[in-house]
């Protein structure tokens, strides 16, 4: 599927639902769809919350099946930011030191088979793929 969403504030649930109802995702098995829903939500929520600062903007969603892999690409025109450049959260910290910040992209890295970031033509592009 290809679809451009603009504006995006408050639209995370709607965008995720469109991805989940796309013809590429519907035939996949339950576990793969669970992981796609989770990683799409985490990545899109990050873009909505941080990419455009106080402003609104767009997200372009591209998805396809390539060599038995489901590939989801999310493009935004916000501030250049490589989420893969962040240090992973320390998941062994005790309760009182645990925070939830930074978990979203960490979940994507652990749940997907491949996560890549590029900055091209003024846009952030996050591409995630998973084998069904």
């Amino acid at each position: 599927m290809y679809k451009k969403f603009n504006p995006i504030t408050g639209k995370c649930g709607e965008i995720v639902e469109e991805i989940m109802q796309s013809p590429e995702v519907l035939p996949l098995n339950d576990t793969t769809r669970f992981k796609i829903r989770l990683c799409a939500e985490e990545a899109i929520e990050n873009i909505i919350s941080y990419a455009y600062g106080r402003n609104d903007g767009f997200i372009e969603v591209n998805s396809c099946i390539s060599d038995d892999n489901f590939v989801l690409s999310l493009k935004d025109g916000g501030m250049p930011f490589n989420p893969l450049g962040r240090k992973d959260p320390d998941i062994n910290k005790p309760l009182e030191e645990r925070e939830v910040g930074g978990l979203g992209i960490f979940i994507c890295k652990r749940m997907m088979d491949d996560v890549r970031y590029t900055y091209k033509d003024g846009c952030n592009i996050l591409t995630m793929s998973i084998r069904n």
Partner: protein, 100 residues
């Protein structure tokens, strides 16, 4: 997502049904916020109907665990499905929240 809260003498039983995600995490937080005040609460959450959680949900479980610990109470999550359990496992939340 539906949330059912039952208080008995010294236990609070919560049942969650549906998906806990960006669309309803704020409401879930409001629904359980009274439980973050009480002293020595024993809270059991039945997760058998919880189909999904994202980090938005994890954030609230973490807040609840921190407040329960601070107030001398206890929190147990029960009957979690394997996919949701994996989210708790890979984020290390299984180490800080009791899951049976």
């Amino acid at each position: 997502m539906d949330i059912i809260i039952n208080h008995s003498e010294n236990k609070t039983l919560i049942a969650l049904n549906g998906r806990l995600d960006t669309t309803n995490a704020e409401q879930f937080q409001k629904d359980i916020s009274p439980l973050m005040e009480g002293d020595k609460l024993q809270i059991e959450i039945d997760c058998s109907g919880m189909e999904y959680t994202s980090s938005q949900g994890l954030r609230i479980f973490l807040m609840l665990q921190k407040s329960v610990t601070a107030h001398g109470g206890s929190l147990v999550l029960k009957n979690m499905n394997s996919r949701v359990k994996e989210v708790f496992d890979i984020t290390g939340f299984s180490n800080i929240i009791k899951i049976i």
